[in-house]
Every structure is written in structure tokens, then in C-alpha cells.
């Protein structure tokens, strides 16, 4: 058998979702080989970076808990800084996973298949990183982590349901839970495959436990597909809701630059934008490292590039509309915050970089040549990831640092501890991601088999 994928050149490389020459066995073989093979050497190097960053994270956390939020750059008036920027950034990144898993599933977009597992894991880990921030940014996290929850208590106190921060608790926890279920649900058949393929007794037990008694019977498949669809249905509104609710943190407040009705859709688009950038950022190196070109084909990358272009344009439209609404409102505080302080104030370079990253750089994606080049896609995704962080900086910091009374205006800058926390979560994310890649099939094997020519007949027959 010639190595699968070698004949792809003859076909339309932009159309295929799985390289020709694969059958059910080779798909399983190829994907599970990552799990069963030896750990590649380069992975230790990546691990070392991730581990070092996690140590920085832990150091920062210790310092934070013993000394207080004063180790960061936050002040009055900029009482929210890196922590909230990072929260929004991570939650945004998590969006692509849900979108790919849920919405594209419902829309029957077959190209989602090879990247959905990966994106879902990314979502989960991004949410894990994100939740650290709102809890730990508080002055007294040891109380914050449960006083925001509604539970009957001796104080006779409920949280203040008017506060968007309480809505956040529900939005993020729901999102996290559903994402976890969805991801795990999708993994069950593949865990069963691994269980059946492993020669190692303890691994068999582990995978057997995780497979939850999956035997692949028709009834299993029937229940499974129904549950998966239902979860997809459940997750779909979450794609919209979670970032809408996050955006309420800002739009419900009356700070000029925050108080805008455009925020929910603008945040959701931004989140999808950031999420796809992150999927590309991770998928392109992983695809190369594990030689997964057969499964993550050029079409996948191109499609993601297109989604980035579209959502990036939506976000850019949001930027434009902010100016328009500021002008149209006739509110001098809004006009100052949006039209004056952002582009010409002391943080103008941040704003200009944002426009470069999130608007100008993605214009390259109109070109097919660019979309076909993994390297260029990766670079653009990197720029967009930075841009989306800058966008949150613009919203959080530049709005707060100059609000109503000029006497209170002040500047803000993150300290090394702010950076340690941010980079630490990136390390944490990397570690989780590589643990996932190493120990869990990163591409849904059973779903890939649906893409095989032979399963299409069956699939169609089943569908009718």
C-alpha cells in the first residue's frame, strides 16, 4: 500500500477533506499512533517551555495570594487590568471550539470533522485558563469563589442578581460544563477504540473506564448520535450567550467606551475570530509535527482562513460602528472616549496596533495564495491573537483610564506579575494541550471514518 496522501497532488487539493487512499484501518492507525507511539523528543522541549511558564504562574499565584492584587498594575481609575483583558481573551479563544463542534455540526459542515476534537479541547483549556482570572483578580478570592454563587446561607444573602458579574458566573460555568460534556461525549467511541487496540493492561483499564462501557452496538450509536445532536443544540446558544454576557460586564456599566449596545454581537464575532486564529495557531504546527496533512488538509486551513476573514470584518465593522454611535449619540463623553482618546490619546499606539492586527493584516486573506500557505496563515493568526488581546486592552484600559472627571485620569501599565500571570496561563494551556495531543486521539477517528468514501454510501443509506 502506498502511503496514504501521496497521491493527493493529482486531486483538487483545495476540495478534499481527507487524503485519498485511506480506509477505516489506516485512519485509526494513523491517529492512534500518536497516542501509542513514543513521545517525540521535540515534545519535551515544548513541555519544558510550558512547565517553566506554569512555574511562573504558580509563583505569581503564591505572591498574589500572600501579598494582594497590589502586585499588579491596577489602580484607581483603572481598577481592571490584565486579569479582565485575559479573561475576555481566553473566553474568546474558547469560542471556536463550540462554534466548530456545535454550529458547524448543525449546519452539516463536514470540514469541521478533523478539527473539532482539537478545537473542543482548546475550548476547554481556554475556559480553564479564563476562569482563573475573574476569581483571582478579586481582592479576596477566598470569599469570591463562593459568595458569587446563589446558595442558601446563614448570612441570609443572595448575590446581587443585577450585577453582570453574577451573570458571568452562570454563563461561564454553563459554558464550561457543556463544553466538557461535549468534548468527553465525542471522545467515548474513540476511547473504546483505544481500549480495544492497546496491549497494555493498565492502559486498557484506563481507556475502558473512560469509554464507559462503549461497545459500539446500534443502540449505543443511536443514543450517542441523538445525545451528541442534543448537546450541539444546547451548546449553540451558548456560543452566543457566553460572550454576550461577558460583554455585559462592560455594556451594563456607564463608562464611556463600555456603555454600548453593539457589544454583544461585536464580542461574539471577536471571539470566533480569536478562536479560529488560535485553532490555526495550534493546528498548523501539530499537523506538521505529526504529519497529519492527510486529515487536516489545505481545505481545512483555507476554510478557517475564510472564517477569520469574515469574523475579522465583522469586528472591524464594530470598530467603525463604535465611532458612528459615539458621534450619533452626541454624548461628549462617548465622543471623547472613542473618537479622541483612543486614536489620539496616550495609548494611541495600542489602538493603532489593534487596527493593524485586526483589520489590516487580515486583508491578506482575500488572496487564495495566502490562504493556501500554512506559514502565512500561521503568521496572520499570530497577529490576530495579539490583536484580539490589544482589543480587550483598548476596551478595558483605555476606556477606564480617562472617564468622566479629568482629575481622576491616570495611566496603567502591567507589572511583571501581570505578565507572569498571563504568560503562565499560556504555559498552562500549552501543557494541557500537549497532554491532550499525547494521550487522547486529537482527531475524532470515528468521525473521520464518516468522511471515507465507503462510509458515505452507508451514511446516506442510513440517513434515508
Amino acid at each position: 500500500m502506498s502511503p496514504p496522501g501521496s497521491s493527493a497532488a493529482g486531486l483538487d487539493a483545495d476540495r478534499i477533506l481527507i487524503a485519498p487512499g485511506h480506509d477505516a484501518a489506516t485512519v485509526t492507525e494513523k491517529i492512534s499512533s500518536v497516542v501509542f507511539g513514543r513521545t517525540p523528543k521535540w515534545m519535551f522541549a515544548v513541555w519544558a517551555v510550558g512547565f517553566a511558564l506554569v512555574m511562573a504562574l504558580l509563583t505569581q499565584l503564591a505572591k498574589l495570594l500572600f501579598v494582594g492584587t497590589g502586585i499588579w498594575g491596577v489602580n484607581i481609575p483603572v481598577a481592571w487590568g490584565f486579569a479582565i483583558i485575559n479573561l475576555v481573551w481566553w473566553i474568546g479563544i474558547g469560542h471556536a471550539g463550540t462554534l466548530i463542534s456545535a454550529i458547524l455540526l448543525l449546519l452539516n459542515q463536514k470540514w469541521r470533522t478533523s478539527i473539532n476534537r482539537f478545537a473542543e479541547a482548546m475550548t476547554l483549556f481556554a475556559v480553564a485558563c479564563a476562569v482563573m482570572f475573574p476569581v483571582l483578580h478579586t481582592g479576596r478570592p477566598w470569599l469570591a469563589f463562593y459568595w458569587l454563587l446563589p446558595y442558601p446561607n446563614t448570612m441570609g444573602m443572595w448575590p446581587n442578581f443585577r450585577s453582570p458579574l453574577v451573570w458571568d458566573v452562570f454563563a461561564i460555568s454553563t459554558y464550561g460544563t457543556v463544553s466538557l460534556l461535549f468534548w468527553f461525549m465525542g471522545l467515548i467511541p474513540d476511547f473504546a477504540t483505544l481500549r480495544d487496540r492497546t496491549a497494555h493492561r493498565s492502559l486498557r483499564r484506563l481507556f475502558g473506564f473512560l469509554a464507559m462501557g462503549w461497545r459500539g452496538s446500534a443502540r449505543h450509536w443511536h443514543n450517542y448520535e441523538m445525545a451528541y445532536l442534543l448537546l450541539a443544540g444546547l451548546a449553540t446558544p451558548l456560543v452566543i450567550s457566553v460572550h454576550s454576557v461577558i460583554s455585559f460586564d462592560f455594556s451594563v456599566a456607564q463608562v464611556p467606551g463600555w456603555h454600548a449596545t453593539i457589544f454583544p454581537p461585536y464580542f461574539v464575532a471577536g471571539a470566533v475570530f480569536a478562536g479560529f486564529a488560535m485553532v490555526l495557531l495550534l493546528a498548523i504546527p501539530v499537523r506538521r509535527a505529526f504529519n497529519l496533512h492527510d486529515f487536516i488538509t489545505s481545505r481545512h486551513l483555507q476554510n478557517m482562513g475564510k472564517v477569520m476573514l469574515v469574523t475579522g470584518l465583522v469586528v472591524s465593522y464594530g470598530y467603525l460602528m463604535e465611532f458612528f454611535f459615539a458621534w450619533y449619540s452626541g454624548n461628549p463623553f462617548e465622543i471623547f472616549a472613542i473618537a479622541e482618546n483612543r486614536p489620539t490619546g496616550p495609548y494611541k499606539w495600542i489602538w493603532m496596533s489593534l487596527i493593524f492586527c485586526n483589520f489590516l493584516s487580515i486583508q491578506l486573506l482575500w488572496l487564495k495564495k495566502v490562504r493556501q500557505s500554512p506559514l502565512l496563515l500561521w503568521i496572520i493568526s499570530f497577529i490576530v491573537s495579539i490583536g484580539m488581546w490589544l482589543e480587550r486592552f483598548v476596551i478595558v484600559v483605555i476606556s477606564l483610564h480617562r472617564d468622566f472627571l479629568p482629575s481622576s485620569w491616570d495611566m496603567y501599565a502591567g507589572t511583571r506579575w501581570d505578565w507572569a500571570f498571563y504568560l503562565g496561563t499560556i504555559g498552562f494551556f500549552l501543557c494541557l494541550m500537549f497532554l491532550f495531543v499525547r494521550f487522547v486521539p486529537m482527531i475524532a477517528m470515528f468521525e473521520m471514518k464518516h468522511l471515507l468514501p465507503e462510509s458515505k454510501v452507508k451514511g446516506r443509506a442510513k440517513a434515508h
Partner: protein, 1023 residues
């Protein structure tokens, strides 16, 4: 739940059946509940709702288990503390109820009468004494901070000899033979060095000492003394005369480089009298009584200058020239207008001022600051005499000081004698000349020549290090003192606590040199028994009354017969005419908070932003933006530049130099520099250490305040970060400080208000969510009266246990003051400042409070009496409330700012106010503890809380009555009347927050000749 049959069992049953029974079995099977249940479980899509119920026992089990687990987390072992009741309850002492005692606070010798609040024997807060003429119940920033001086952990705590700890007894024993020897020599070689002394007891003891040892000499030295005032009066009247002013009778005031509203012995009283002539919020009263007018001519920007109706910024020498021009215009003999004021715009200015003064003969006042040259003082005595002000607005009395001397000469003489070996024993009582003497008066070298030197001081300071003996000085709140106020009224300061570190008073040290061993209390009683010529019960009665009242009745200084010597005035005029103003002039000024540096170790004063510069913790070389450009330092006022560190320069004065950062002050006179004293202390004070630069390094005895020639500034190319609490100085055209001219106001009272479209229905929240049946607290802030003096800021800090955070944290924007005074410059640009505006901003206690909505844990909520309460225990510190507060009055404990460790600081805290910990938000509470105290008192007496019964700390301290607090539900209350004024406006009204704190617009009373009335109302906002 019932066990259902497994698939295998079903299969077995089916296999076991045959034929017809097979089918029947299947039917039967399908009909059983068990099978239906199985189906339900396998195909949940078809499942009906789970009807499984938890029985009561199981629920209680689970619930109690989870509660027990939750409870475990709350089980921390509390430290054992014992609370023991009094066996014998001391008279008057009710735990939890404060007592008040009259006492004094003297700065530079002059006293302000105060009432000290004492909790269980610990003074925690000082208020003005309503009976005392220098206070009338008000106080200033230094008096408010004095309680922290008492508890300063860096205070000197032991008697030392050559650095070794000794006892007071050892000192007395060691001095004994010396005293005998000195007596034999009639005191030859014995020198005393004190600050300005007004204390009758100390004066009497010195007199006694001099009687016993006639050759002993008494020297006086104050770094920020009043030599010029003394010399000016001496020249004008030929004898020492004390000058004080009656601002309540002055319709027109001209102030020459004078910050009489915030600095100097009578400032608190002057500020009150002045403000009362400018209370215009009652339109009918304003029409009837009018408004006084203030002209200020000054080089730097002072608090007084900022409230002036007209302000002229000129170099220090030109201020003297202005005095000359004014005197010439008013026809004071021997005066001729100097060229600078001879023609043009400035001559018009002089003309207008002179006309205004002449139109108010006997009801006007021309005064100069303590730092202005003696010749100007002399000339102004003649001017006031010419205007008929003597005896009406200017009051001449016998000196208040025990012995008015020229202190500069006195100190120079001491140093010269010491270096000549003529000083055998030097006793320094409370002064710190090694730190604050001019650079050309080398005290350290002189002290090295003295065989025996004794220093009494509150700290082991610079001078202590050069003396043989150091004695800890008792704080005014822990010992018996007496002192006189600016008008001569004598007060007896009673202690509120035993000396914390066994400190002594100047009187006690003098007694040692008299060979007597009486304590401060006995010395004081002995003196007053002699002075009043009473003993026994009569004395006790009077003594008790004096202690209770805080002053000796009718002890004001007697009026002095004073007529100006025309020749002296002419000579002064001629001298001034001979002065030429330099390219770059330098003025020294006492720091608005630290004075001459004696308060440098007071964290409250250090951290309180200075009134104009808003700098904390450090001094800087102040200059105008144009001067900075001229010196090649660049444009330091451009947007964005205010965030950069400021340039450091080398300032050289006649060969002496120092390195100091520059701070630009719009409105400062061009070509002039101002440098504040009081910084650069060099002793082991944890607060003072490293704070600023000592201006005395370039100060010469001959030119203590004004240097016209030989000043040079060189940029060093370095930059340094100063900590300022306000970086942005323009109102950006926003409606923040509103105001109008007085004449406009009388005609169109509400014309100052911008036309805003405020729709109160534009809120998602219920409109009248809160109904106040009882009290509805509110505050009114009079922007016309506010001078920006900061008394309220420190009063609030003392009352509410507000922590000091340090320069580093202030620079990060984390100062904790609950009330701040915003300062805006108004004008075309930084070079043409028309006005400097002050706006105290505290929590607005909004009716539609943006903070309340967003707090996730409901830690900030409305109270039943209109307050926006902060519940520290509930706060988790999301800081969302601060973000959503448009006034940015909330303060967050980013770190553990409160000092939980230092025992002496724990004593000083107000026990009625929570000491906040790390991670919680805090803000102004309208002094809720004072409201509670009044409410409890009212309930005990079954009545309503009376208007004026609740006085917030800021309101109580305010020397100009700018703050009024009370019940808005009571239409007769002062606050309700203020809010009924057409001048009442809400800050950021357009946001619909409906604040309970509102402002009274700032009214100026310009001279129509200098500023013709405009058609358009004078919207103060446009900057």
C-alpha cells in the same frame, strides 16, 4: 427505584417460550412496567420525567452532611482575649463613649484652641474649639494631623547622653553641678535657644533664670519665622507691635504674596471671617450684603491666590514694586510708582485696585505675607493708615510673643559666640537649627565648639545628633503647656494621656536649670497662681474653668497705640524703589503642610496632596511652564508629558547648589521659582527619610525668603518621578466646576447652568426605589468658599482610619483619601491661566448609584436614610463599583495598607470605624458613625436628630464652612437651605445619578473696571 430486568433475563425468558406463548409472552413482556422502564433508560428520548423522589430522611442526611462540611471550613481558632470590666468605674468614663477635652496645638509658638476626642484615655481626633478665637470650632490641616504626631513610632523615646541611653534622673544629676557652677558665674556662657515663645510659663521661667543668672542669653530661631513682620512693624511704629486683621469687616482685600487663608497664626480665623463675607448662596442675603472682593498679587500660586477675584502673577521683587506703586497711587508720602507699574496694563491694574480701595476706606485691607520683605510691611502699615483701616480691619496690639527679637540676628549672634568659644552651655528647647538654619549659618560647626549642649526634641533629629544630651520632648497632647493665639488669647493645653515615652516640656528643662524639680503640671499651676494672684479654692475654680473652656477669658493682647512714622515709610519706599528684579528670582516658602519640616515625619501630612501642586511626599522646584521652556526643559504641559518623570535640575544660589526635580505650575509668575522648606530631613524617621530636598542648603541668612540675583538653574538631563495625585489639569470643556460672576448671578441666578438634556426616566432601575421616611442625609459643598487647604482631607483620614500608602503607591494611583480636592486650571492654555479652581470630591451618595447595581455580592447598598453604605465584610473586591463610579471616589485596598503591627499607631485609631484589611473597597460614609451616635442620642431622648447635630469630620474641620451636612427631609436644615439655592448643582448631572452631595457654584466678584461684564454667563467650566 425498582430494579428492572436486564436484557439477558428478557432474552432468556423469550428463548424459554415457544409458539403462541412466544408472542403472548412478548406482549406480556412489553406490557410490564419493568420493560417500559428499561426502554426509558435505553432510549431517553422517549422517557418521561423522572419521578424518583428523595425521601425526607435521605434529604436531611445529605443536607446536614453538606452543611457540616461547609461549617468545618469556618472553624478557625480565635485567639483568646480577655475583657475585664472596671472594678471601680472612673468618673464620666463610659466604655464606647468618647470624652472631649480642651487643649491647644501651637505651631511656631502661636496656638489654636482645640477639643480632643478621647476614647478610653486615648486621644483619637482633634477638633476646633468653638470658644477659641483662633479656631471658632474650625481647624487646619496641621491641627488635624497632630494626633498622628503623638503616636509617631519614630519619636524620641529615651534620654541619651552621647548616644547612650540615660535616665531623666541621670540628666538632672549631671546638670546639678553645672547649674551651681553657672550660678557662680552669673550664667556667663549659658545660652538658651528656643523657637518663638508665647507660653507665659516658659517666659516666666526664662525671666526667673535670667534673674538668677543675669549673663545668660536667650536666642530664638524659627526657620519659617516672622522676622519680616516684626521688623516691618518695628520700623513703622518704633516699637514691637503685633498686627492682626479683621477680615469680617473688609469689603476689599489686597493680598501681596500672602497666603493668609491657610498659612500663619490666624489663618483659620481669617479663612472663616473671609468666607462669611462670600457666602452668597442665599440670593436675598447676597443682594442685601454683597460680597467682598480679593485681589492677590503673588509670585507663586497659593491657596489664597486661587480664591482671589483678581490675581496678578509677578516676580517676588515686583510684588514689592506693586506695593510701592499702590502706595504712590494712594498718596503715601515718599512713594513713586516703579517703572514696571508706571504704565500699560499693570498701571491700570494698580489704578483699579487703588480706586476700589479708596471707595472702601476703613472697610478695606492691604496685607502682605509673613515672607514679604520688612520694607513692604512698613509701607503697608502706612497704606492701611492712609486708607483709614487702622483700628477697623487692621488691629494693632501689644506683642503676643514673650520677647520679640530679630531671630536671624539672634541665631547669627549665637553661632558667632559659639565659634568664638563664648558659649559654655547651650540648651536647645524644641528647635532643630542644624536642619533648618540657613546654609551660611553653620550650626553643626558651632555646636562642636560648645562644651555642653542639651537638646530637647520630639525626635532624635539632626540637632540631637550634634548635642551631648538629648531629651525626648513631650507632645502637646500628653503634657501641660500654655500658649497664646494670634490675638493673644491664652490657652492652657491639658494632656489627654500620660507621656508615651516619658517626654518632658521646655518648662521642665528650664526648671532643672533653676535647680527645681517640679513637673509640667506643677510649673503651670505655680505660674498661673502667681499670674492670677489667687490661691486655694478661687484658683481651683478658675483653673477648672480655664481648662474646661480651653482659654483664659479676656486674655487677648491689649490694643497698642501705633502711629506710622512717615519717615520710616518713606525710607522703606526708597529702599524698595532701589531693588531691581532679577532674570530669575527664587522665593522660599514654608511647605503648606510640613511647615518648616517639623511635621516631616507625619504620614498624613506627607501624603496629603499639596493644595496647588497635588504633589505628595516630595518637594520640587516650582515654576511656570514658560519659565521651564526658557530654561530648556521643554514643554512639560503637553498632553502625555504629565505622565513622564520630571526633569531634574541643579539650582545654584550664590555658589550654593542643590539638585531638585522641577514641577511646572501654570499660573506661577514667569521668571520666578518657588521652593518649599521642610523636606530632605536627615534622621531616622521612617516617613521623613528620603522625602524631598532640603531648601536650606541654598538659603542664606541675609535673603531668607526672596533671592532676586544670582539664581541659576541648569538641566541635568536626568528625570525623576514625583508622585502627584492629579495628572490632568483641564476640565476638557466639561461641566465640572461651574461658576459665574457675582453681578451676573444677582441678575440671572441660574444662568451659570449649562443646558443639559437630563431625562430622569432614562434608567432601567425603578425610579423612586428608595423612600426616606426619616432622615435623608445630604451634603452641600460651597465652591466659592473652598480654598483647597486640605483640612477636610486629613480630618477624614483621622476620623475614618484611612491608611497612608507611601509614595510608591501614590505614584501608581492608589492613594486612599476618601475626600480629595480636585484642582483645575482654567484659561486659554497653560501659559494664560485665568483661574485655579478647587473642588472637594467625596462620595456623592447617589440616589441611582452606579456602584450598587454592579456589585455582585451586594456589598454596597442603599441605607434607609439615604446613604450609600459600604459593607466591608461582604466585599470580595471585584472593583467593579469603582469602575462604574463616575466620580472615582472609591478607594481599594490593593495591598495591606493599614499598619496592623505598630502598637503606637493602634492606639490612635478611631474605635468607631472599622480598620479595613486587604482586598476590600472603601469610600466616604458621610461619617456614618457620627450619624449613629447622634441617632442613639436622639432615640434616648425620644426626639428627632436636630439640624447640626451630625457634623461630618470634613465639615467640622473646614475653616471656611464650605461643607454643610444635614437632613434634606428637614426643610429648615442648613443643607436643605443650601440646596434650595439657585447655585446648587449636581456634578455630572447628565448621568442621572441624582447625587446627595451637591455643589454650590463658584461665584467670583471681579472689579467691572478690570473685567467688564460679559453678555454670556461666565461658565466656569470652559477651560
Amino acid at each position: 427505584m425498582k430494579e428492572s430486568e436486564s436484557l439477558n433475563e428478557i432474552r432468556a425468558r423469550l428463548q424459554g417460550s415457544r409458539g403462541a406463548s412466544y408472542w403472548r409472552s412478548l406482549d406480556e413482556l412489553a406490557g410490564t412496567n419493568a420493560f417500559r422502564e428499561l426502554l426509558h433508560r435505553e432510549f431517553p428520548r422517549h422517557a418521561s420525567e423522572w419521578d424518583g423522589s428523595l425521601d425526607r430522611r435521605r434529604f436531611v442526611q445529605l443536607a446536614s452532611a453538606s452543611l457540616a462540611l461547609a461549617g468545618l471550613a469556618g472553624c478557625t481558632r480565635q485567639p483568646i482575649e480577655k475583657i475585664v470590666p472596671y472594678v471601680r468605674q472612673p468618673e464620666q468614663l463610659v466604655p464606647g463613649k468618647p470624652l472631649y477635652f480642651a487643649t491647644v496645638h501651637a505651631v511656631g509658638g502661636y496656638a489654636t484652641g482645640l477639643l480632643a476626642e478621647s476614647h478610653n484615655g486615648r486621644p483619637t481626633k482633634l477638633e476646633g474649639n468653638p470658644e477659641h478665637p483662633a479656631s471658632l470650632g474650625r481647624s487646619d490641616v496641621r491641627a488635624q494631623a497632630a494626633v498622628l504626631d503623638l503616636y509617631d513610632p519614630d519619636r524620641s523615646q529615651a534620654v541619651t547622653h552621647l548616644g547612650q541611653i540615660r535616665t531623666w534622673g541621670a540628666f538632672v544629676d549631671a546638670i546639678g553641678p553645672k547649674v551651681t557652677a553657672l550660678k557662680a558665674l552669673e550664667g556667663e556662657g549659658l545660652r538658651l535657644l528656643t523657637g518663638t515663645v508665647t507660653s507665659p510659663t516658659v517666659a516666666a521661667l526664662v525671666a526667673e533664670l535670667r534673674a538668677a543668672m543675669p549673663k545668660a542669653r536667650w536666642h530664638q530661631h524659627e526657620a519659617a519665622g516672622r522676622d519680616h513682620v516684626r521688623r516691618g512693624a518695628l520700623a513703622a511704629f518704633g516699637k514691637p507691635v503685633e498686627t492682626r486683621y479683621d477680615l469680617s469687616r473688609a469689603d476689599v482685600v489686597v493680598a501681596l504674596d500672602s497666603d493668609f487663608l491657610t498659612q500663619g497664626p490666624g489663618a483659620v480665623r481669617y479663612a472663616l471671617d473671609f468666607a462669611r463675607r462670600r457666602k452668597v448662596h442665599d440670593l436675598a442675603a447676597a443682594r442685601r450684603d454683597g460680597m467682598s472682593r480679593l485681589y492677590a498679587v503673588e509670585s507663586g500660586v497659593t491657596a489664597t491666590g486661587t480664591v482671589a477675584d483678581h490675581r496678578l502673577a509677578v516676580k517676588p521683587t515686583e510684588v514689592a514694586h506693586f506695593a510701592l506703586a499702590l502706595a504712590a497711587r494712594l498718596g503715601v508720602a515718599g512713594s513713586a510708582a516703579p517703572p514696571f507699574f508706571a504704565d500699560g496694563e499693570r498701571a491700570e491694574w494698580v489704578d483699579a485696585v487703588a480706586e476700589d480701595l479708596q471707595a472702601h476706606r476703613g472697610r478695606c485691607l492691604v496685607l502682605a505675607g509673613d515672607e514679604v520683605d520688612a520694607e513692604v510691611h512698613t509701607l503697608l502699615h502706612a497704606v492701611n493708615a492712609a486708607l483709614g483701616n487702622a483700628g477697623t480691619t487692621v488691629i494693632y496690639t501689644e506683642p503676643v510673643e514673650a520677647e520679640p527679637v530679630d531671630q536671624a540676628a539672634s541665631l547669627a549672634e549665637l553661632v558667632a559666640d559659639a565659634r568664638a568659644g563664648a558659649v559654655d552651655t547651650l540648651v536647645i528647647l524644641g528647635a532643630n537649627p542644624v536642619y533648618d538654619a540657613p546654609a551660611d549659618v553653620d550650626l553643626a560647626a558651632a555646636l562642636a565648639e560648645v562644651p555642653l549642649s542639651v537638646h530637647l526634641g520630639s525626635h532624635v533629629d539632626e540637632t540631637a545628633g550634634h548635642c551631648h544630651w538629648h531629651l525626648p520632648e513631650a507632645h502637646q497632647l500628653e503634657t501641660w503647656t500654655d500658649a497664646r493665639a494670634f490675638d493673644g488669647t491664652t490657652s492652657i493645653g491639658q494632656p489627654l494621656i500620660e507621656p508615651l515615652y516619658g517626654g518632658k516640656t521646655a518648662a521642665e528643662v528650664l526648671a532643672v536649670f533653676l535647680g527645681r524639680t517640679l513637673n509640667a503640671h506643677e510649673l503651670l499651676r505655680e505660674h498661673w497662681q502667681t499670674a492670677w494672684q489667687t490661691t486655694g479654692a478661687d484658683f481651683e475654680t478658675r483653673w477648672r474653668k480655664v481648662l474646661h473652656d480651653g482659654l483664659v477669658a479676656d486674655s487677648a493682647a491689649a490694643p497698642a497705640q501705633a502711629s506710622v512714622d512717615a519717615g520710616a515709610a518713606g525710607a522703606a519706599a526708597a529702599a524698595i524703589a532701589g531693588w531691581t528684579s532679577g532674570e530669575l528670582e527664587l522665593a522660599f516658602r514654608p511647605d503648606p503642610h510640613l511647615f518648616d519640616g517639623r511635621f516631616a515625619n507625619n504620614g498624613w501630612l506627607q501624603e496629603c496632596p499639596r493644595p496647588i501642586t497635588k504633589l505628595t511626599w516630595e518637594n520640587a522646584l516650582l515654576m511656570s511652564p514658560a519659565t521651564a521652556r526658557g530654561l530648556g526643559l521643554g514643554d512639560l504641559t503637553a498632553d502625555g508629558d504629565q505622565y513622564l518623570p520630571t526633569p531634574v535640575v541643579e539650582l545654584t544660589v550664590d555658589g550654593r547648589g542643590l539638585e531638585i526635580p522641577v514641577w511646572v505650575v501654570p499660573g506661577h509668575a514667569d521668571g520666578a521659582l518657588t521652593l518649599h522648606l521642610g523636606y530632605g530631613r536627615d534622621f531616622a524617621g521612617r516617613v521623613a527619610a528620603g522625602a524631598g530636598v532640603n531648601a536650606c542648603a541654598v538659603r542664606a541668612a541675609a535673603a531668607p525668603w526672596r533671592v532676586a540675583q544670582g539664581v541659576a538653574v541648569r538641566a541635568l538631563g536626568r528625570r525623576y518621578r514625583l508622585a502627584s495625585t492629579q495628572d490632568h489639569h483641564s476640565m476638557e470643556g466639561r461641566h465640572i466646576v461651574l461658576g459665574d460672576r457675582f453681578d451676573n448671578y444677582l441678575e440671572h441666578p441660574e444662568a451659570y447652568k449649562p443646558h443639559l438634556h437630563v431625562d430622569p426616566s432614562l434608567t432601567l432601575m425603578p425610579e423612586d426605589e428608595f423612600v426616606y421616611d426619616g432622615n435623608n442625609w445630604g451634603m452641600s459643598v460651597d465652591l466659592t468658599a473652598c480654598t483647597g487647604c486640605n483640612a477636610c482631607v486629613v480630618a477624614c483620614q483621622a476620623e475614618n482610619n484611612v491608611p497612608v500608602v507611601g509614595k510608591d503607591q501614590v505614584a501608581k494611583g492608589r492613594e486612599m483619601h476618601w475626600i480629595r480636592i480636585d484642582r483645575y486650571y482654567q484659561g486659554v492654555d497653560a501659559d494664560r491661566v485665568e483661574a485655579v479652581l478647587h473642588q472637594p470630591v467625596l462620595c456623592m451618595h447617589c440616589e441611582q448609584a452606579p456602584c450598587e447595581v454592579v456589585c455582585p455580592v451586594a456589598a454596597t447598598v442603599h441605607s434607609a436614610d439615604g446613604l450609600n453604605d459600604m459593607i466591608y465584610n461582604r466585599c470580595v473586591g471585584t472593583r467593579y463599583c469603582s469602575n462604574n463610579c463616575p466620580y472615582k471616589v472609591r478607594r481599594f485596598n490593593f495591598l495591606l495598607y493599614q499598619d496592623w503591627e505598630t502598637p503606637s499607631l493602634q492606639l490612635g485609631r478611631n474605635p468607631d470605624v472599622t480598620v479595613r484589611s486587604r482586598g476590600v473597597m472603601e469610600k466616604c460614609t458621610y461619617c456614618v458613625q457620627r450619624i449613629s451616635r447622634a441617632r442613639i442620642a436622639a432615640k434616648m431622648e425620644d426626639r428627632e436628630i436636630r439640624d447640626g447635630e451630625v457634623v461630618t469630620a470634613c465639615q467640622q474641620a473646614c475653616p471656611s464652612d464650605a461643607l454643610v451636612f444635614g437632613d434634606m427631609n428637614d426643610p429648615g436644615s442648613a443643607v436643605a437651605r443650601a440646596k434650595a439655592s439657585p447655585l446648587d448643582y449636581s456634578l455630572l448631572e447628565e448621568l442621572g445619578t441624582r447625587p446627595h452631595t451637591t455643589f454650590l457654584a463658584r461665584i467670583r466678584n471681579p472689579n467691572p473696571k478690570l473685567e467688564p461684564p460679559r453678555q454670556r454667563p461666565d461658565h466656569g467650566a470652559h477651560a
